[in-house]
Amino acid sequence: MPQSRYLIASAIVILLLALLPLSGSRYAIDLTTEVLIYALFALSLNVLIGFTGNISFGHAAYFAIGGYGCAILLTTYNWPLAASLPAAVVLAGLVAAVVGYFCVRLTQIYFAMLTLAFAMLVWGVAFKWKEVTGGDDGFTGIKMPELLTSPVAYFYFTLAMVTVGVAALWVICHSAFGLTLVAVRENSVRAGFIGIDTRRMRWAAFTVAGAFGGLAGALFGMYHRGMYIENAFWTESANVLIMVLLGGIYSFIGPIIGAAVLHLLQTFTNQYTPYWPTVLGLILLVIVMVLPDGLIGLVSRVRARWGRA
């Protein structure tokens, strides 16, 4: 069964990742930690885009809320990590529920614009609320538990949290709820006529996406020992959106691939030229012109070409 094949493949990937610190390369460990966090971030957005058919331009808001939330609880309030992290996830989910309540009243470009507007509001709060967030100096000096201060320890922590997050999203996306979301995406009028409240389904998807985006953000803030207003800026929302599109929205793992490829490309490009935005533009061009289904779509097209299912 494909199900058990996925499980085995995932176990192998996790095992290989777990062996990475044996390489002794700090660079590889840091880069992989970042990729893992972005993979979860992109995957959370795809609940909304790929599964529900709603394109959000403001997903960085929930990443930032999770990041700031966890950082502030750990540092300002001295909460233990075991409480700060879940609380940050819940906070991001709650804000997503409030914002989503309004956004799902709209569809398509109007929906996208409203998500963008709310995300700019979140950025504004991070910028203005200096006493709490540090304003444009950023929130720095996050207090981390002793146990997680080494890069290798934090890498393992991230690997564990991302694995849990991805597994949870896998279950949700393949659940009865997930299948119903796909029906809403495919034909929301018909979904109404089988008894589905499509607006509430989209609202729930928005909330789920926000909560898991918040988890990614919390991991990100702790990794950098700081959160900055740039993390809430609309360019971050665009970045994660491109990751999702690059990987492919109609498969579960597409966004993971997209996140890895885009982040690695960005890192390497930045070593050689200051023109990352130009390169990003070219990538976007390629997606739109030749990869409408992303890299995953390309893989299945090549496979079909060579006669394998």
Binding site: S175, V189, R190, A204
Partner: protein
């Protein structure tokens, strides 16, 4: 017999154009009732008003004594009133199986289940419904790639998955070959009998209409101009003049 569906003084206008004009209508439980009339007479609009797809300009619609006006489609379906669409309205990129499966998931209220794998649910029920409409062999095909006639059959299966007491079929055989039409009508008749459904349908094929309808209502320019037993309607002079006589069935 008691009225299952009771409609009073129903109006619908689209920016001044009246598509439904003062329609009053009673449908008895257990009845098989056809709504006929030329193209553009307002049959689909009438169905849209009943099922919550459109909001009436005026008038009332009651199903088993419950006022439906203002309720969204999803609430109306859950009261036991399901429909199919004249223009194919399925999930084209899902498999045939999933098209029906998700309707059963919705009917059973499992759309909020975030844990149980969707594809493992109600497989038997889905297979039964596909068998009922003759789509067993096509179960794993992509719904959008089925022939037109088979997509219409899928429409029917999706509507039946809601386990309705009142079924509304909008032109269930439009675009079908004569053989598909005959098969579809035979299966609709069997299903309606086996499940004790009340059926309200529109249809352009008069042999189908007079073959299975117990009562017929004729719509013309949004108005019901005749309603009654098939023979009475067939011989109604007004109906003959505007519809049956002129050969332009649509």
């Amino acid at each position: 017999m008691t009225s299952m569906l009771s409609i009073q003084g129903l109006w619908k206008s689209f920016e001044g154009f009246v598509a439904t004009r003062d329609v009053s209508f009673e449908l008895a439980a257990g009845e098989t009732h056809a709504v006929i009339g030329p193209n553009g007479a307002g049959k689909t609009t009438f169905f849209n008003l009943i099922t919550g797809h459109l909001r009436p300009t005026k008038g009332s619609v009651a199903f088993e004594g419950r006022d439906l006006v203002g309720l969204p489609p999803q609430k109306i379906v859950r009261l036991g009133l399901a429909r199919s669409f004249q223009r194919i309205n399925i999930y084209p990129r899902l498999s045939v199986f999933e098209n029906v499966q998700v309707a059963l998931i919705a009917h059973e209220g499992q759309q909020w289940n975030l844990f149980r794998p969707g594809r493992s649910l109600y497989r038997e029920g889905t297979a039964e419904l596909l068998d009922l409409v003759g789509l067993t062999r096509e179960a794993e095909e992509t719904a959008g790639e089925l022939s037109y006639g088979k997509q219409k059959q899928l429409e029917l299966a999706i509507a039946l998955a809601a386990k309705p007491r009142l079924l509304l079929l909008d032109e269930p055989t439009a675009g079908m070959s004569p053989q598909e039409t005959a098969e579809t009508i035979a299966s609709v008749r069997d299903i309606v009998k086996a499940r004790g459904l009340t059926l309200l349908f529109t249809e352009h094929d008069m042999s189908v209409v007079f073959g299975i309808a117990e009562r017929i209502s004729v719509l013309h320019h949004g108005e019901i101009i005749a309603s009654g037993a098939p023979d009475a309607v067939r011989n109604d002079p007004e109906v003959k003049r505007v519809y049956l006589g002129d050969g332009s069935h649509g």
